[in-house]
């Protein structure tokens, strides 16, 4: 499928807007002012909503270190743990703990503290301290455990008296749940002091409020809705965009009930016009998708068709005598979700399917948006399946091949899609608008931010 002219324009515009390398070395100092839409009620990484937007992991990583990090190529890198070992069965792992690291309250990040934190994050694991290391025993072979531990919910936190303390590059200065978060840089951070002195984050702001704050000079960094990115570029704003990574799709609340049910689901998947949805409703802010993992990550997404086939959809529909109407639920607080849901209902009617949209949670089908949880393909697939209420992908071969070989992810994803519990629609592009003074901007391919590497041109040395 060739990109249309308008798509190409957006792609070119956005690629031109991709962060150029710093022409000078980073400067130290200054306060970065951020406005975002998310309004988390808690900063505890173990309580982070797994279906939340990508901002939460980005925020969490500023305050809470993880034992392992995942780089932009999806490979595990040392975090609080400089090295690790596993038994041949990949069930028992030992992670050494970096020496000399302290929580923001000054207490040491000990193996006991790490074990306690991980036990809270995952009660299914058996976690205990062994000298200066932590042992994790899993119920099943987990060759990707290092990449799993890089997920934000495994951020290492010390929990005392209802407060959480981390060991990350920034300490919490002020926290008004759901409203405001102020962070200050730690001079003694083991990974090197951040360039910024502080970050002030206004939470729960609509896209419109964010853009006004940027225009008035009250914010240096705001989010842009996928359908607004092109407009923002044309307006001459400084827009940075990541590859399409946020999954948007339909999830059926129940497994297939009958052969007829399967036929109707097939008809629905075939009748959706993803291309025009992306070009018109999203203004090229995404990519039609037939898979869970985006194509740039898996390398095989093109094997799953995304084009509308109304003729086959009607044939599948006509194979069923009686059709009960479906309800399609969407997030009422997401204006994009509403228009997409309405378009899907329209497409469904074209194929002879009855569908009613609703903003209530109880529905036959839900329209879901899920950020890409990890840059490790197998972990991402597992997390998406878990969050969507689908069975975990299975792999029966050599555990080491689980992540190393794209054909294993292909087989697992094929099996998930064949269950007909979900209909992939699009992968959405995440974008931000930046003030002219924001330098060193880095965004991973999954859309997560690396604010610890950002610096301000006006900052003092």
């Amino acid at each position: 499928m060739r990109p249309s002219g308008s798509l190409l324009l957006v792609a070119v515009s956005l690629s031109l807007a991709i962060a150029a390398p710093a022409r000078t070395r980073p400067h130290y100092g200054g306060t970065l002012r951020v406005a975002i839409g998310e309004a988390p009620a808690s900063l505890d990484p173990a309580e982070s909503e797994r279906g939340g937007r990508e901002m939460l992991p980005s925020l969490s990583r500023l305050v809470f270190d993880t034992l392992v990090t995942v780089d932009a190529r999806g490979q595990a890198q040392p975090g609080l743990s400089p090295s690790w070992q596993t038994d041949p069965g990949y069930q028992r792992w030992q992670f050494s703990i970096r020496r000399g690291v302290a929580f923001h309250d000054g207490t040491a990040v000990s193996s006991d503290a790490v074990a306690a934190s991980l036990r809270t994050a995952n009660p299914d694991w058996k976690v205990f301290a062994a000298g200066e290391a932590v042992i994790i025993e899993c119920n099943a072979p987990t060759p990707d455990l290092p990449a799993v531990l890089a997920l934000a919910r495994y951020g290492i936190a010390k929990r005392t008296g209802g407060k959480v303390v981390g060991s990350g590059p920034f300490a919490i200065g002020r926290w008004d749940p759901g409203k405001k978060l102020a962070l200050s840089a730690r001079d003694d951070y083991w990974g090197g002091r951040a360039f910024l002195d502080s970050i002030e984050i206004e939470l729960g702001k609509s896209f419109r409020e964010q853009m006004i704050a940027l225009d008035l000079g009250k914010a240096d960094l705001v989010e842009i809705a996928p359908d607004q990115a092109r407009h923002a570029v044309l307006e001459g704003r400084r827009v940075e965009s990541a590859p399409p990574s946020e999954w948007m799709g339909l999830v059926f609340s129940r497994d297939i009930q009958s052969l007829e049910d399967g036929k109707l689901r097939e008809a629905l998947a075939l009748c959706i016009d993803r291309e025009s949805m992306n070009n018109v409703l999203l203004q090229g802010g995404g990519e039609p998708s037939g898979t869970l993992l985006p194509g740039w990550m898996s390398g095989y997404a093109f094997l799953f068709p995304t084009a509308i086939d109304l003729q086959r959809a009607r044939q599948a529909r006509d194979a069923v005598r009686q059709v009960s109407p479906w309800t399609l639920g969407y997030d009422a607080s997401d204006p994009l979700a509403r228009v997409i849901a309405e378009r899907i209902a329209l497409n469904a009617r074209d194929a002879g399917l009855a569908m009613q949209t609703t903003a209530t949670a109880a529905a036959d089908i839900r329209l879901v948006r899920m950020p890409l949880p990890s840059l490790d393909a197998w972990v991402a697939l597992s997390e998406l399946a878990r969050s969507l209420g689908l069975p975990q992908p299975k792999f029966d071969g050599d555990p080491l091949q689980q992540s190393a070989n794209p054909s294993t992810a292909y087989a697992a994803e094929s099996a998930l899609l064949q269950s007909q519990r979900l209909v992939p629609l699009l992968h959405l592009r995440t974008a931000v608008a930046l003030g002219a003074n924001v330098m060193g901007w880095r965004e991973d391919p999954d859309g997560s931010w690396r604010l610890q590497d950002v610096w301000l041109e006006t900052g003092k040395p």
């Binding site: 991709i18 000078t24 690790w84 990974g191 951040a194 990550m297 093109f302 094997l303 054909s407 040395p461």
Partner: protein, 441 residues
């Protein structure tokens, strides 16, 4: 328990991209520029590179053979229509090569090729890629059956197209030295047979020995430090050409000084230190202190430039040798270039340089030039040579795109080359290059 996933690993000396680039760009016959040691070294390096290019070609063939084998296993020796689509970042020439090799490999299994209408099997091979690898996918259609899918993957290396450089007064050339995932801070050579190389990174000084055209790790000396490194870490490594076995090299990192010694085996001692760093390599006895929790020099100069012993805080400095003294150009933290002439501090308003500059003794023109970083196309920085005519530096070479962000630019021992370290955005690796200038014809 067996050791698993992460540990310091030894990387192959140079990746495919680098090999190809070297093969295309480097003219090793640089009259008057290289010592006999250097000539031997670069001859060895060329041999190594050619060997590696060959090895890489064999790897491609391996993947083609593997995919051909999988396709043949699925189809048997039938008639086939083969279509190859390229959805990856491979260029058309490489894609064509792969297609040709695939046809050859399939033909060797007894498969004959016909048009889609005549063939028993239709195969579409898509050259794709994921985050880490090239992914080659074959969709095999036989009769009315649902297509079957086989795929192979192989590590991805970026191949950067190299445009021929137009003629210029001087030509800036790059020779790849080393690449690794860990940030490279500086690289130094040790003359002798075999050739040796020291690589400074945040954790160690590693000694490599050239053996059978490959760099082999001889020794890794750990750097001890108690304070965390700053985020934009910098370091300097200098081989002491005048040293005996008790003092072979020096390494400076923020707040840490390391001294290397030994003969058969190297030893290194590191200590917390606020000692100033040398600027301008071993040719100018100018030193300045480094702000240990930041990424710049404080501006206090010793012995100073003429009467000037203080300057604005700066990221890097380059000497401009004069007849009886040297002026200094500083890439200051204020984003401007300052010229210290011994009396005045002149801001060079017209210069739009990056924050890394270094002196280079080419023997061309006035004999010395300044290399400076700047913004290149897309995500690549560029390095350009400048010649000081009067007080104003003017461009002396066309800019050299370096394929990433320059993270270090240091004058090498003797001043005839500059070590540049580039963070390659595509591969994520740090790549060290040796930059030299050749005179125009």
């Amino acid at each position: 328990m067996r050791y698993a996933v992460y540990n310091l690993s030894i990387h192959p000396p140079i990746n495919l991209r680098t090999n190809l680039r070297i093969n295309l760009r480097v003219n090793l016959r640089i009259p008057g520029m290289l010592s006999s040691f250097s000539s031997r070294f670069f001859s060895s390096l060329l041999f190594a590179l050619l060997f590696l290019v060959e090895a890489s070609a064999q790897n491609w063939a391996g993947a083609e053979g593997l995919l051909a084998g999988k396709i043949a296993s699925a189809t048997g020796p039938k008639t086939m229509a083969l279509e190859v689509l390229n959805r990856s970042s491979l260029n058309a020439a490489l894609s064509d090569d792969i297609r040709r090799n695939l046809l050859t490999q399939l033909a060797a299994t007894g498969i004959r090729f016909l048009t889609a209408e005549q063939a028993a099997v239709s195969v579409r091979v898509t050259l794709s890629e994921d985050l880490r690898s090239y992914v080659w996918v074959a969709e095999i259609r036989q009769g009315a059956n649902a297509p079957s899918v086989v795929m192979v993957s192989l590590p991805r290396s970026a191949v950067r197209a190299v445009e021929p450089a137009p003629a210029a007064v001087m030509e800036l050339r790059e020779v790849a030295l080393w690449s690794q995932a860990e940030r490279i801070l500086d690289v130094a050579f040790i003359e002798g047979s075999p050739a040796r190389m020291l690589v400074l990174d945040p954790n160690s000084v590693t000694l490599y020995r050239m053996q059978e055209s490959r760099w082999l790790v001889e020794q890794a000396l750990a750097i001890t430090h108690s304070r965390p490194w700053p985020r934009d870490l910098r370091g300097r490594l200098l081989w002491r050409t005048d040293g005996d076995n008790s003092h072979l090299f020096d390494a400076w990192l923020p707040g840490v000084y390391c001294r290397g010694s030994g003969s058969a085996a190297l030893a290194m001692t590191c200590s917390e230190s606020a000692d100033p760093w040398p600027i301008g390599a071993d040719l100018f006895s100018q030193t300045t202190s480094f702000a240990f929790s930041r990424n710049f020099f404080s501006g206090t100069l010793s012995p100073g430039v003429g009467t000037q012993t203080t300057a604005p805080a700066f990221y890097s400095a380059a000497a401009v040798p004069r007849e009886h003294s040297s002026w200094w150009l500083l890439a200051a933290v204020d984003g401007k270039v300052h010229l210290l002439d011994g009396v005045t501090d002149q801001v060079m308003e017209k210069l739009k340089w990056g924050s890394d500059i270094a002196s280079l003794r080419s023997g061309c023109g006035s004999g010395w030039q300044v290399l400076a970083t700047g913004a290149g196309a897309g995500r690549s920085d560029k390095v350009q040579a400048f010649e000081s005519i009067g007080r104003e530096p003017v461009a002396a070479s066309i800019p050299l795109e370096v394929g990433g962000a320059v993270t270090a630019l240091w004058t090498g021992s003797g001043g005839t080359s500059v070590v540049a370290v580039v963070h390659n955005w595509e591969t994520g690796e740090y790549e060290a290059f040796r930059l030299t200038l050749t005179c125009g014809r």
